[in-house]
Symmetry: D2
Subunit: 304 residues, 4 copies
């Protein structure tokens, strides 16, 4: 298996130069573009790791599935989806275009920035508590108590995140956000700056695949239905405005982040973590897409 | 099993009055709103039929998956998706809003009207041949040689389909359609007017589930990859701008039509046909959604 | 005065090569790009003509102010503006973007194609009568009984006007157009193909300036209020999505056409006709804009 | 003349109840809806004042023409219109819809909030200086050294102006705003809270009509061309997405504010100030529109 994974990595390595590392903040542009890692974990307890599987990268938008789970745990499905819709959008991940339509009522979905900021606002807690609860939730699911956030990236995001700020104020104006906008943005910028490895995100994928239960643990962390909802939203919205093509060509419910990570989950089967920092026009890892595509074919993982 | 299906029908019957029969053409408004039917067919050859499973209704947008398959057979994936995108849209099924954006290059996906008209234009054939090839393809897949179209519905669609006509001319102007617009529209209006039963559409769902192979037949009708692509597109776009919520709450790749039908497919497992003519605001059968939701839970069919 | 006009022509001649002749139909691309003409007529009966003032060109969108006047005469202001709005738009002249917004009720204004097609539909008359009435109205206002349309241009427009056709069917679908779409389009394509000179359009500008009265004639052709409405709409919408900048930099209520003509009107003072066929990105004559700008400064014509 | 003005006031008084006082901040909702005032000042030095002409109201969007003039004085036309376009928009005054289009480069015009915030950012000065310069400019033009801002309104705007804040951050993200967003917003909120009477705004209208020269003063405050540009922009954009209809039915270049004021200017002739606090759906004084319409007819002021 590790042989296959290595072969897939080498087959897709040429794509590095077809994409570009995220450069909207200096901290992100400093990553090594040549790192490529894969980690696969299945429900039978098998783990496969190859390449730079243990190199840290910022979780970025992959955090959106964690904040969504916590918001669902805290509020229930009905309350969450009164503030956010479930629908994929053709607009890019940082759009606020639709938010000022007369006829639109909610951010399209929790996988784009606007929806994710609302999700974060729905996590319960005062002051530091909200972020700490999210961090702890991630530590629990990854079974990695050392996970923390990158202060430099966080401060950069906070300093230059004008468009996210614009979205947040617009959603405040339209009643989708309660509470203090800057406080919510602070949590959001911090959650995007959390550092993980492919092992950590494969664990999250496995947790979803295993219906919100940690392997070798008896108690569920949360209701299995949450895994099903989150997996469906990943399948329809997880790769931004490339989600439809990704579903048709890869068929693995996934969530990407501009840090270069892609998290995949095969219900009842396995979690996958892939990492390579150069991105395509949609903000998805370009090597990562190639790898997921090959994994899907070679391991017959396409759920459709 | 039939008992369970009957119970599910009765449980959802009250929803009839929450929706409304399509009335944009007189022929459609005349259907009996009280008909409800279910047919399920699995890859092991089991069939379950309940209620008005054998009442005919017009296939409408469910035909879009058949024309897509035929267009893929005729042209290959690359050529088809040069003219149509794979992406779900937040706009309603009959939108042409995005088509006149400076930055949009293709109709969003083949499940909304604009994309489906392009799909139809890609079916090979001259004059009558194009429609006849599609009709024969449907007859082959359903193993029902008696399938035909409803002349009255066809003429009504043709007479009043100004918005579809607008889309077609716009796509002609933007280079997505080759050939004569009125001729293509004629095929499109006819294909929407084809009459089927829940048995017929369950067969199509089974055909997709069985990877483009008819049960008890040795040869594939087309490549298994086509089943996978079409199923993914159904999962992300098949229920129009309700597709995301449907995926999260039902989790069965499906395609609806304003005739009241919903076709579901569970890869490698089964095909489902449901029929009830009153529609919700998105143009999906309102009872049909309730039934699919209950089937998903009771039979554990959610793929996510 | 003719000296000044000649100087202004020569000063702006270099702009010819900065624009491009309309080429969406072969007939238009054949015009001589080097023709430049000016004609000015004031309410005191003075006429000034320079350059290729008597070269014929197709009236194109300048016809929109004539069809608007006739629609107002035929129906009154209230009825016309129930079907068309008065508002300038940021979208290009051939947009249909806004027409499929859930919240938009009318084509933005009668100076863009969608609004102008509705205007034409409001002209009274059956069959040939509608176009003949418009042609006669133009002949009356220009006092030129020889005006006619260019058959080759008309047939080209009809043959390739897919986007206008799309708009018309969409407006039919949304209830802004009564009657047969193809018949209305036929009148619209013919009216765009009418051939005029700068003298003819200066006469129309003079007619507006003189409040709907021909010089040296006692009876008004129509109510003075119509001149005021049409002039205001020219000032706010007449140069498409460049109208605002044109108002701020030229300040002469004007209407352009892709045939290369620009008609200007100074209320109570004069009419101006300018012609030069190469166009800028908005579809306005590029030399024409330079000339109008210089005329405005030299003759102190800016109304703002 | 005052008789005529009184008659016009009484004729339009019934409209008070057709509109509603701005209530987005408590301070605004407390005004007396029954106040109606008119002040007209012509270039010959005649003044006509009727009704509640000396009641103070907040200037709100009428300040946009003052900040535009000052930005033009400070930067010149080229620099200002590199950051803001001249084009009227169909969107409401507080839209940010177009700002997140891939193809839009600038806020549409300086009369809507987004453009006006950019305008304010272009006024030179550090810290308090920027607002003080604007205030002094208004005092100079109105020849009223007592003009100041309403602290309560300012604090309310600042506290609840989330949508303006969203716009400002979005424009910061897209490079239309240099400098600190909150500092610019602070000036913007203060300028909207400046209190004036109909006499003050009539003076501004007169100043524009008199080509940037105070009556009975020899020196121009600024170049006459600025008057022409600002008047043109008022004519095309000054009444928000009602500007086109207002031009066609009233024909007086005007600017409204949600405080209930409407400022009109007739080039070379007169300035007009009208005040009545209840607003129509566009945010324009509903009685004010009636009065301007009657003034236009009775005094023959329509410039088109």
């Amino acid at each position: 298996m590790e042989d296959l994974l290595s072969k897939i990595i080498e087959k897709n390595r040429y794509l590095i130069s077809k994409g570009a590392v995220a450069d909207y903040i200096p901290a992100l542009s400093k990553v090594n573009p040549n790192n490529i890692g894969i980690c696969i974990m299945d429900v039978d307890g098998n783990n496969y790791k190859t390449g730079n599987y243990d190199v840290k990268f910022t979780i970025q938008s992959i955090s959106k599935i964690m904040s969504l789970m916590l918001a669902l745990i805290d509020n229930g499905e009905d309350k969450v989806f009164k503030k956010i819709d479930y629908e994929p959008t053709e607009e890019p991940f940082n759009t606020l275009f639709k938010l000022d339509f007369p006829h639109t009522v909610k951010p399209s979905n929790p996988m784009i920035n606007s929806g994710a900021i609302v999700t974060t606002s729905l996590i319960k807690g005062k002051g530091e508590e909200r972020f700490n609860r999210l961090l702890n939730f991630i530590r629990t699911v990854t079974e990695n108590p050392n996970i923390s956030y990158n202060e430099e990236v966080y401060l950069s995001e906070k300093d230059t995140g004008h468009k996210n700020r614009a979205m947040a104020y617009l959603m405040k104006a339209r009643g989708f956000i309660d509470g203090d906008v800057e406080e919510i943005l602070d949590v959001y910028f911090k959650q995007c700056s959390i550092e993980v490895t492919t092992v950590d995100i494969a664990k999250i994928g496995l947790f979803l695949a295993n219906r919100c239960k940690l392997l070798e643990q008896d108690t569920k962390v949360c209701d299995a239905r949450i895994a099903s909802i989150v997996t469906a939203i990943m399948a329809t919205c997880g790769m931004y405005n490339f989600s439809g093509e990704y579903a048709a060509t890869v068929g693995i419910p996934s969530k990407s982040g501009v840090g270069g990570g892609i998290l995949g989950t095969i219900p009842h089967k396995m979690g996958i973590g892939v990492f390579s920092p150069t991105l395509d026009q949609y903000g998805n890892s370009i090597v990562g897409y190639g790898i997921m595509s090959d994994l899907s074919k070679e391991l017959n993982l396409n759920i459709f």
